[in-house]
């Protein structure tokens, strides 16, 4: 139990740290007043706005106030859209989750069969072929893959919509892009996990009982591999969010990632802060959840 508490404490530190870094970065990036007011604004206007926004206070005071509001989820109004920044981010969260689920599903659909296949045919030409696929998937620049998919499926063939969010057809290309990003590591994990499990006694017992090979692989081997695989994948969730940022930007997918990129470009401080905060919370809680879950599922894992 103390382990769980320790991990929770660490997670809180991470979220606070991320928020602080964002605050420092934004402080360093210049005066928001210049963005908010037109160049013709008088000195008086600037001073007034400064007072209203609390920017005339010393930095530690500003930081303390900022953290106090952050904890309540109050980031202020977006400079660009004139709406509550936190609400803006939360509105876009479902789109990002949809994309993340789509990407994971695609990655799993590709990775499980290929991983099992490579493990069964290990050290053969088929295995090598799967490894080449994995290395290519790792090497391909995500945003370029997205553009190539667009050129081929939307412009040449006209099968899928170029960008935006809508029905299922809109989800296909972004999911494939994000899936290609996550599939190689999943496949490698499944392959090496399967190779390990094949050596275990209970697999030999299952075979000796006369079970058909398909049952041995799917019921006995795969089940045991999926536990560590899903934990590692949960640990990789931060990477996946990074991939989602790229995918959303290229496909104009209205998610948190695209909003964050756009607000950084627009110097829209409250929105950047809210978006980074929400992303950090999501990443940290997924990691934490996986970490705690594994200690309960698998009694062999203990952290002391």
């Amino acid at each position: 139990m103390s382990y769980v508490l320790k991990r929770c404490w660490q997670a809180i530190i991470v979220v606070l740290g991320v928020t602080t870094i964002t605050f420092i970065l934004l402080q360093a990036s210049g005066d928001p007043i210049t963005v908010l007011l037109s160049p013709e604004a008088t000195k008086e206007d600037i001073e007034n706005l400064r007072k209203v926004m609390g920017l005339d206070k010393p930095l530690p005071v500003q930081y303390f106030k900022f953290m106090k509001r952050t904890i309540r989820g109050d980031f202020g109004e977006s400079y660009m859209l004139r709406e509550d920044a936190f609400k803006l981010v939360m509105e876009r969260l479902p789109a990002t989750i949809e994309l993340a689920v789509g990407g994971t599903v695609f990655a799993i659909i590709v990775a499980i069969p290929l991983g099992i296949f490579a493990a069964i045919k290990r050290y053969t030409i088929y295995d090598n072929f799967c490894m080449v696929l994995a290395v290519s998937g790792q090497a391909i620049p995500l945003f370029w893959l997205a553009l190539m998919l667009m050129i081929f499926f939307s412009i040449h063939l006209g099968w899928l919509p170029v960008s935006g969010r809508g029905g299922f057809s809109h989800l296909i290309m972004p999911s494939v892009t994000l899936g290609v990003y996550m599939a190689p590591i999943t496949m490698r994990l499944i392959r090496s996990g399967m190779i390990d499990v094949f050596e275990k006694n209970f697999i030999q017992t299952a075979r000796a009982k006369g079970l058909p090979e398909s049952k041995v692989i799917l019921k006995h081997a795969l089940k045991n591999v999926m536990i560590p695989v899903s934990t590692v994948l949960a640990m990789q969730f931060g990477r996946m969010i990074g991939g989602a940022v790229v995918t959303e930007t290229v496909f104009a997918w209205p998610g948190v990632g695209r909003l964050a990129v756009k607000s950084i470009m627009d110097v829209d401080f409250p929105t950047v802060q809210a978006a980074v905060f929400v992303m950090a919370i999501v990443i940290v809680s997924v990691n934490l959840f996986a970490d705690i879950l594994i200690t309960f599922i698998d009694p062999r894992v203990s952290y002391d």
Binding site: L25, P141, W144, L147, R188, A280
Partner: protein
């Protein structure tokens, strides 16, 4: 007679087996290269990477035109496989009539330099912090480990993008920003290896004869973590190249007119409907390079990391 000869042979065999452990540095390098040569994927990757480097270094000699020479009258010429192409510009011309092939060749300079330099920067930072965290433990460790966790809880790309938005895009800033965002990976890896190594007897012995901490860390522990760093560092070069090109693609990276594969893609984005080759070609250049680096990294992993299969 024959028997003695056989005996002699056995003896020489024995001699050879005895010699191997005391083999000199160049002998070990030769053995390593021989072992590496057997891994075809790694060798193929090395060839690709070396040729890209050669292309980048000798760009002025290889490129048929200057990458900055504009001629609006021949702008957006298609490459040779499309109708209306011009044989003097094999891969066509860009938006301002500059030779596309020459710009691609020069683009290798920016991408490779950004990749290698940022990894060198990130690795030296990460290795040093990782060694200190693992060796000293206690508050040093908890400080550095927490910093690592915080950095990893941050979407990498946003951090890079935000930092560049502050300092303004230039080659130097990109290398520094990518370096600063990339260090936690090395720190985490080196820390966990240092934790094991510091308990070994020879470290104990070094401490026993009165070595100072810095000497133990950099003379005795550091050489033993290099192998895994080389593998990770190689793979990271590819990731940094992709990240640099994405930043340039968004307009927050290398600024025109300097040619980089990323900003060429960014320009091509607006011609996606009419001239799809504009996007295809720079992307292929990036992909070939990163694929070569990844293949090289995989080959090195097999060579340097005896636990490759277990650790993935």
């Amino acid at each position: 007679m024959i028997e003695t000869k056989q005996n002699l042979e056995v003896e020489t065999d024995l001699d050879q087996t005895l010699i191997i452990p005391s083999i000199d540095f160049f002998g070990r390098v030769r053995l390593g290269i021989e072992k590496f040569w057997k891994q075809r994927i790694g060798v193929a990757g090395a060839i690709v990477v070396i040729s890209m480097c050669v292309m980048a270094i000798f760009a002025p000699d290889i490129a048929p035109y200057s990458p900055y020479e504009q001629d609006i009258s021949i702008k957006l010429l298609p490459p040779f496989w499309q109708e209306g192409s011009n044989p003097t510009h094999i891969l066509g011309t860009d938006l301002l009539g500059r030779d596309f092939l020459s710009r691609l060749i020069y683009g290798a300079r920016v991408s490779l330099a950004a990749g290698f330099l940022s990894v060198t920067f990130a690795a030296s930072l990460g290795i040093t912090l990782g060694l200190y965290a693992g060796y000293y433990g206690k508050w040093v460790d908890s400080l550095i480990s927490n910093a690592v966790n915080i950095m990893l809880g941050f979407p990498f790309i946003l951090l890079a993008l935000a930092s560049i938005a502050i300092v303004g895009p230039s080659f130097k800033t990109i290398v520094i920003v990518l370096g600063i965002t990339g260090w936690p990976l090395y720190a985490r890896l080196v820390r966990s290896e240092t934790l094991t190594i510091r308990e070994l007897e020879y470290v104990e012995a070094a401490r026993g004869i009165g070595c100072r901490s810095n000497r133990i860390i950099f003379r005795h522990i550091f050489p033993n973590v290099i192998n895994s760093i080389i593998v990770v560092g190689t793979l990271e070069v590819a990731r940094m190249i992709i990240l640099e090109s994405f930043l340039s693609f968004l307009g927050a990276g290398i600024q025109p007119p300097i040619p980089s594969w990323g900003n060429m893609l960014g320009e091509g984005r607006f011609h996606i409907f009419t001239n799809s080759w504009y996007i295809t070609l720079p992307g292929i250049a990036i992909f070939v390079t990163t694929l070569g680096i990844n293949m090289l990294g995989d080959g090195l992993r097999g060579l340097l990391d005896p636990y490759a299969q277990v650790k993935l």
